[in-house]
C-alpha cells in the first residue's frame, strides 16, 4: 500500500551514528509518530498515588478520552470524574463557573468525600485566560475539609517550562504545609514505584536509623500527610527534581538531588553526599562495586555478542547505561532517544569514544511508523525498555520504566540480572507493552 520515495530502509533523519550525532537534540523535530509502548506512567497514574484522593479533569472531549480510559483500565473509575469543555464555554464567560459548579456537583454525588481532589485544567483553559485561582478559591471555601490541588494537563506548554509530567510530580505534594521537621524521617520524592530495599540508598537511610517515606508506600491519607514532616527530601529522577526544589523552598527542608546513575564514580559521590546529610560515615562500597561488576560479567557470559538496544523510557539515563554496558563488553548497537538531557553530556562523550558506530534512533520520527515490529524485525536482540522491544521486534526484553526502582551499585547488579533473565526467557511483547502504566492494575 505504501511506497516511500527514498526506499524501504532509508532512515535518514530518523537515525544517526553516535559519532555524528548532535547533543542534546540529534534529530530535527517534525511530525510525530506514537509507538504502542504504554508502560510509562501518565499524569493520571501519578495522581492516583495520593491515597483517598479523587481526580476531576476539565478538558475538551478529545483530551478527556485518554485520561478517563487510563483510569478505567487501571480499574479506578470510582476515583475519576470529568467536566467537558464546549466551544461556547470559551467565548461566553462561563469557563470558570462551569468548572466550579461541575466539580461541586461531582463532590456531592460521590459516595464518600475525598480527602484530596486533584482538579486538572488543560491547554485550552490557559490559552483562554481561565482564572484558575478563582476556581480553586471558591471550591476551597465551599469544601474546607477537602485539600484541592491545582493540576495541569497542558502538553502545548511542554517546551515553555516544566513538562506536564514534572508539574504533576510537583503538584503531588502541594497540600504539604510548613510544619516542624521530624529529623528521624526522610522522603523519597517524585517516584512512581518503590526503590529497592537492597539499594545502597535505602540501606544508608535505614543504617542511619531514619524512617523512609515514599508516596508509593502510603496507604492512607494520613500516611501521605506525614511525609510533610520529614526533614530531608531525596529525589533521583530528573522529572522529580522540581518537586524536591519546591518542597525545599516552601517547607524549608533540605533537598538532595542524587541522580540515578550508571557511572560508578557518580554513584559513589551521591552515596557520600547522602551519608553526609544523614550524619553517618560513608561506608566502603568496594564490595558492592565488585558485586555489580561480577553481575555484569555474568550477564555478558550469557548474552555474548547478542545486540543490546536501549530506550529512554527504561531509564532517565539511557546514554549512561549504554556507556556502562559498552565499557563492560556488551555489544550495544542502538539507543532510542529523541532528545537527551544535559546531565548525560559526559556519558554521551564517553559513549562516542567507546562505541562510535552505535546508532541513535528517534522514536517519534514519521519514518519510525514503518520501522516497528514486523517490518525491520531483527530477531536476536536484548532490549532494555518497551520501545526498544517494540522497534526491534524482540521477545527478549527488560520490562522497566523510569529506572524500575533500581538504584546505585545494587541497581546495576539487578539490571544485569534482569538482562540475563531477558536473554533466557521470552515475553509476549505485544501483550505486555500495550498495558498502560507498568505496575498499575490493568483490566486488559
Amino acid at each position: 500500500m505504501l511506497k516511500r520515495l527514498n526506499g524501504e530502509d532509508d532512515m535518514t533523519g530518523a537515525e544517526v551514528a553516535v559519532r555524528d550525532a548532535g547533543f542534546p537534540a540529534p534529530f530535527v523535530s517534525g511530525l510525530e509518530y506514537n509507538a504502542p509502548a504504554r508502560g510509562p506512567w501518565n499524569i493520571v497514574h501519578t495522581g492516583m498515588l495520593i491515597p483517598e484522593s479523587h481526580q476531576v479533569f476539565a478538558c475538551a472531549q478529545g483530551c478527556l478520552r485518554g485520561v478517563i480510559l487510563t483510569a478505567a483500565e487501571m480499574l479506578a473509575m470510582d476515583r475519576m470524574s470529568w467536566i467537558s469543555v464546549d466551544k461556547n464555554d470559551l467565548f461566553d464567560g462561563s469557563l470558570e463557573r462551569n468548572i466550579v459548579d461541575g466539580t461541586a456537583e461531582i463532590i456531592r454525588k460521590l459516595p464518600k468525600k475525598p480527602r484530596a481532589l486533584l482538579l486538572f485544567i488543560s491547554c485550552v483553559h490557559l490559552f483562554a485566560g481561565c482564572d484558575f485561582e478563582v476556581i480553586m478559591s471558591e471550591l476551597r471555601t465551599m469544601f474546607p475539609d477537602i485539600d484541592f490541588i491545582d493540576c495541569y494537563m497542558n502538553p502545548t506548554m511542554r517546551k515553555s517550562g516544566l513538562t506536564p509530567d514534572q508539574l504533576m510530580r510537583r503538584q503531588l505534594y502541594a497540600p504539604f504545609e510548613p510544619c516542624p521537621a521530624d529529623r528521624n524521617a526522610v522522603n523519597i520524592i517524585g517516584n512512581d514505584r518503590p526503590t529497592d530495599e537492597s539499594s545502597e540508598l535505602v540501606r544508608l537511610v535505614r543504617a542511619a536509623g531514619r524512617e523512609l517515606r515514599d508516596i508509593t508506600q502510603c496507604r492512607t491519607y494520613e500516611d501521605y500527610r506525614r511525609m510533610a514532616k520529614s526533614a530531608l527530601e531525596i529525589t533521583y529522577l530528573p522529572t522529580a527534581k522540581a518537586s524536591g526544589d519546591a518542597l525545599e523552598n516552601r517547607l524549608g527542608r533540605k533537598h538532595l538531588y542524587l541522580p540515578l546513575s550508571y557511572d560508578f564514580d557518580e554513584i559513589e559521590r551521591n552515596l557520600a553526599q547522602l551519608a553526609g546529610a544523614l550524619g553517618i560515615a560513608a561506608p566502603d562500597w568496594t564490595e558492592a562495586k565488585q558485586d555489580a561488576i561480577r553481575s555484569l560479567e555474568q550477564a555478558k557470559a550469557v548474552i555474548g555478542d547478542t545486540p543490546v538496544e536501549i530506550d529512554y523510557t527504561a531509564t532517565p539515563r539511557p546514554v549512561g547505561l549504554a556507556a556502562l554496558l559498552a565499557e563492560h563488553g556488551f555489544r550495544v548497537t542502538r539507543l532510542y532517544a529523541d532528545v537527551m538531557i544535559e546531565e548525560e553530556r559526559p556519558a554521551f562523550e564517553r559513549l562516542r569514544a567507546l562505541a562510535p558506530d552505535l546508532l541513535l534512533t528517534a522514536t517519534v520520527h514519521a519514518k519510525m511508523r514503518f520501522a516497528g515490529k514486523g517490518v525491520h524485525e531483527r530477531g536476536d536482540v536484548i532490549a532494555i525498555g518497551q520501545k526498544a522491544a517494540y522497534f526491534s521486534g524482540t521477545k527478549h526484553f527488560v520490562n522497566i520504566v523510569s529506572g524500575g526502582g533500581m538504584y546505585g551499585f545494587d541497581g546495576v547488579l539487578r539490571l544485569a540480572r534482569h538482562m540475563t533473565e531477558a536473554a533466557t526467557h521470552e515475553q509476549d511483547t505485544e501483550t505486555v507493552i500495550q498495558r498502560k502504566g507498568l505496575g498499575c492494575r490493568s483490566c486488559l
Binding site: 472531549q61 480510559l69 494537563m153
Partner: protein, 382 residues
Amino acid sequence: MKQTARIISIHAADTSGVCSMLYELGGMVVVHDASGCNSTYSTHDEPRWYRQDSMIYISALTETDAILGNDEKLIGDVVSAAKDLSPRFIALCGAPVPLLAGTDFRAIAAEIESRTGIPAFGLHTSGMNSYLAGAAEALEAAVSRFCTDALPRTNAPSANIIGATPLDFSIDGTVESMIGWLKKKAGFDLVSCMAMGSALDDIRRASAAHVNLVVSSCGIAAAELLKKRFGTPWVAGVPVGTSFPEKLASALKAAAKTGECALPCAERDASSHGKRLVIPGEMVFSGSLAAAIESDLGAPCRALCPLEADDRLLAPGDIRIFDEAAAEEAFAAASGVIADPMYAPVCPPNVPFHRLPHEAFSGRCFRKESLNLIDRSLPWRF
C-alpha cells in the same frame, strides 16, 4: 449538570473519528495538536495500530507556534514527511488550541497540495465533538475528492457499505459478517466498504453501486453526497438479529429499484407508555438493535441517543441523553438496559443491565467481550 460526569466514560472525539475513518486508505492524517490526541487515539481508539501500518501523525504543536501563528512549521513538516512517505492524500485536522488560534486548515491544505502535488484537505475538528462528527466529515471529504467519475452501474446488484470503523464495530468480525450477509443473504455484491477492508481505489468505484448501506450515522453525509452526485439511494441499518436483516435486505432492494432512501433502523415507535429496554449508543446501530429485539424477542425497546445524530435516525419515543444524569434517569425508568459496561455504574441495581461493549465508549477495556450480532440469534432472553 450538562457536560459533567461522576463516573461514566466519554465517547471518542472527532479527531479520532477522522483517523479511524481514513486509516486504511493510504493517506497521511495529521492532527494539529501537542501530543495527547495521537496517544489517546492510538491507545484507546485504534485496535489496528499495532499490526496495521497507517500514516497517522501529530504535529507536536507548541505554545510558541500556536501564539505566533507559525503555520509554516506545520506546512513544512507535512511537506517533508509527505516527500519521504508518498501518501495517496493528506488530511489535516485540529484539536482545541488550533480552534482558539483560528487555524485555517483549508488554506494550509491548499498550500500543502500546491507544494507536494498530493491531494490535501482540511477538516474542522476541534476535539470538542464526538467521533461521529469527525468520521463523517473525513469520509465526506474523501468521497468528494475521489468519487468523481460516474461509472456505469455493475451488471449484478451491488452496494457500498458506508460508515464502518472499529469505533462502532470493533475488529471482532462484525464488518466481515456484514459483508458476507450483504453478498449471500441480501444479494448485493460489494463495491466498497467505507472504510474497513477496502482500499482507496475501491472507494473510487463507489458510483458503480446500485445502493448504499449506511451502517453508522457517520456515513450519512457521504451517502447524501453520493445520492446527490450519482443518484445512488441509501438505506440506514445494521443487519443484527434474525428478522431485521430480512427487512433491511428488502429495503435495499426497494431502494435500488426506486432510488428512494430509507431508514429501517428508525421505523419503530417507542412512544407508547410502559417500561422498555433502553439501548444507548450510535443511533443506526441502537435503532437497528431495538428493531431486531422487538421483532425477534418481542421486548419493547427505546434507543437512547448520547451523540450527535440526524433527527431522521430517531424513532418516535427515542430520547436524546446529553449527560450522565439524563442516562441515569432513562435507565431508572427502563425495564432493562443494553449498553456498554461503562454505563453500568449509573444503572439502578433493580434494573437488569446487559453488557454490550462499544469501542467508541470504553475503548479496549471490554474488547474481549465484544459481540458479533450480525445475522444471527440475539444472545438475550427477556
